[in-house]
Amino acid sequence: MNNPQLNESGELQHLLTTEGLPAPILLKILDTAESFVGVTERDIKKVPLLRGKSIFNLFFEPSTRTRTTFEIAAKRLSADVVNLNIAASSQSKGETMLDTVNNLSAMHADMFIVRHSQSGAAHLIARHVRPEIHVINAGDGRHAHPTQALLDMFTIRRYKCDFHNLRVAIVGDILHSRVARSQIHALTTLGVPEVRVISPKTLLPTKVERLGVHVYHDMEQGLKDVDVLLMLRLQNERMLSARLPSAEEYFKHYGLTQEKLALAKHDAIVMHPGPMNRGIEIDSAVADGKQSVILPQVTFGIAVRMAVMTILAGN
């Protein structure tokens, strides 16, 4: 099966998922992002790399946060950015997703950043765009959110340096999480020896161990000696679909408090893709505490996205 993300020379043509991406490609993105962090710390946060390029944010599923970070990243590369909130306009007129894409391609788009509520949407678009257009998946259904996973890997490397002797725990609703899936693939590819998922049974996908993770239902067991805690957001819908009784009971058993954090290594770092539900998956004291690197994640997110766009545009 040839990898739809890579071109014939094995270079990254699209970024759709962290699954199946060789470690050198993941590392190149992280290494390139290092240089962009410096750029984001200057007064003039721009470089002229993508001047003249048109980047279209195709958000079929609304999201201000993610769209904004991609927009900032693209503008810092001097690209022209067009934001399309498709949910509101053409979809309701009955235009198919691919029709929308074709129309935009005709407007000389160089790159599409796609977010959609259905798994596989970015793959479908990547299969149908003209060869010179690059597609970045900004989140498709439950399937993947590769740039989030990459910025998480970048953050881990910044604080922990070496992937090869880490214990990483992902806590929360794995079943519905595209972030978790992308994180798991990236962590295992980069050589993290132990990846744990901590979740009640109703929030775990079938045969999740096959992805290379150890399953824990008991958070206290699962957090022992962990170096990195990746917290996931809990959606309200889970109570409605009979998967959880209440946010309170969830917090008691799966929420991160200072006491539970103390079970991990003393220098463990706490991460969260945002936005946080304080008091549900994470306690404010931890979110704002000294082990939390949640705010740096956001800064790194811009640098990582700049790196991804640059690498794609240069291939």
Binding site: G141, R178, R181
Partner: protein, 424 residues
């Protein structure tokens, strides 16, 4: 019209024939196999040397898309596809628009189909009005109009009480009830088998227990009501095992499997190929292997195409949003032959699965070459290879997971009522 089919390998599973023989047709009926009848003069001779002559295929599930869904396919195109696939008798499910819950609709469909003079169409009537799963249809009226069985098609299974009443009522008249074993509330909005692939791809999933729970309900109610039940499209190893156990306990339940499911598994979804979005979902490799074994040991009685032509736009959508179904009339024969070759079973056994066995399930006179019956035949070359390509398919649906692949087994002639309705 007097037709002689010479030197073909005649395979007629019902009558136990598998030998090279000549076959004689007069006035639309088979008059002899083997010895030439007295004073027989052929108008037309078909040289079937190297070819197999078998009963016209009987397909238990073919969507003709009429009435109402003509943008997907028309009666004309799908009937042409049927004979191109060697199918001379087909049952069409009631999920048209409107559903086949009124005698008038059934009569019109039958009339339209008959006027095309190709395959015989046996409509399956709706079990409940509008297929909504609430009120029963006038099954007796529908039977008079031509329905051979009653089903809910792919529409979600009824609540248990309605299912029980429907089966009880059907059983009053001895009508057949065809049910797809899938529990609505467990299957929810699932689109793929609940296993490794759905986990990786993040697709909402349908666990095997959606099938087994529904199956056990159906078996228990069948036992209770005495209804004649046929299970449509078993998909899992556990499901096959349950059918086997029920049969061993004496329940006369029958079941079929779709041709795609005896070859493909969840792995074929690959990078979200919506051509693999099927109902029931393609399950694990071990499930597929159990389906294959179930066919061999007779737990699964027949293979059908479960033909569902889907317009291109409805497939060019993200997997979960795409419409489920595959075009399969023209692949049915090749796929069954492929299975037979892969597990090394005799051709006649394979042919039975798409001729005499489905005819028995339908309860119609078809699927065999008995002397005196209508000359519905399929003459095929078991060795000829062909590539599945959109322009070749006569069906308006080009949606098949086998697109671009090479298959073996090509229909050369199809005869319905002694008339050549398809010639390669």
């Amino acid at each position: 019209m007097r037709i002689l089919i010479k030197n073909g390998r005649v395979i007629d599973p019902k009558n136990g024939m598998d030998a090279v023989n000549d076959l004689y047709i007069v006035a639309g009926k088979i008059v002899a196999i083997g010895a030439e009848p007295d004073s027989f003069q052929a108008n037309h001779v078909i040289n079937a040397r190297g070819l197999v002559v078998c009963p016209g295929l009987v397909d238990l599930s073919v969507r003709l898309r009429e009435p109402g869904l003509e943008y997907k396919a028309t009666l004309e195109s799908e009937m042409r596809a049927a004979v191109a696939g060697g199918v001379t008798s087909l049952a069409c499910p009631p999920d048209t628009d409107p559903p086949l819950d009124e005698p008038g609709l059934v009569e019109m469909l039958k009339h339209r189909a008959k006027s095309l003079n190709q395959a015989h169409v046996y409509p399956i009537g709706a079990l409940t009005q509008g297929l909504k799963g609430e009120r029963l249809t006038e099954m007796a009226e529908l039977q008079d109009a031509g329905c051979v069985a009653f089903s809910q098609s792919d529409k979600r299974l009824l609540d248990t009480r309605v299912m029980m009443r429907a089966m009880q009522y059907a059983s009053t008249f001895g009508f057949r009830v065809w049910l797809r074993p899938e529990d609505d509330s467990i299957a929810e909005s699932g689109v793929a088998h609940d296993g490794e692939v759905a986990t990786r791809l993040g697709l909402p999933a349908i666990p095997v227990c959606a099938e087994t729970i529904a199956l056990s309900k159906i078996v228990l109610i069948a036992r209770e009501t005495g209804a004649k039940v046929h299970l449509c499209r078993v998909s899992s190893a556990e499901g096959v095992a349950m059918v086997r156990a029920a049969r061993q306990q004496g329940l006369p339940i029958t079941c079929d499997v779709a041709a795609n499911h005896i070859h493909l598994s969840e792995m074929d979804i690959s990078f979200f190929d919506s051509n693999c979005h099927l109902v029931p979902p393609l399950r694990s490799i071990s499930d597929r292997d159990a389906l294959r074994a179930g066919l061999v040991d007779g737990t699964i009685d027949a293979v059908c195409s479960d033909h569902a032509p889907v317009d291109e736009d409805a497939k060019l959508l993200p997997f979960g949003e795409s419409e489920a179904g595959a075009t399969c009339l023209e692949l049915l024969l090749s796929l069954v032959l492929k299975w037979a070759e892969e597990i090394n079973i005799p051709l006649a056994v394979a042919v039975a699965k798409i001729t005499s066995e489905p005819a028995r399930i339908l309860g119609v006179e078809a699927g065999d070459l008995s002397v005196g019956t209508a000359a519905d035949l399929c003459i095929f070359d078991p060795d000829q290879h062909w590539r599945v390509e959109a322009p070749i398919l006569r069906s308006q649906g080009k949606n098949t997971p086998f697109l671009g692949m090479e298959l073996q087994g090509k229909v050369k002639y199809t005869l319905a009522n002694g008339i050549i309705v398809y010639e390669d």
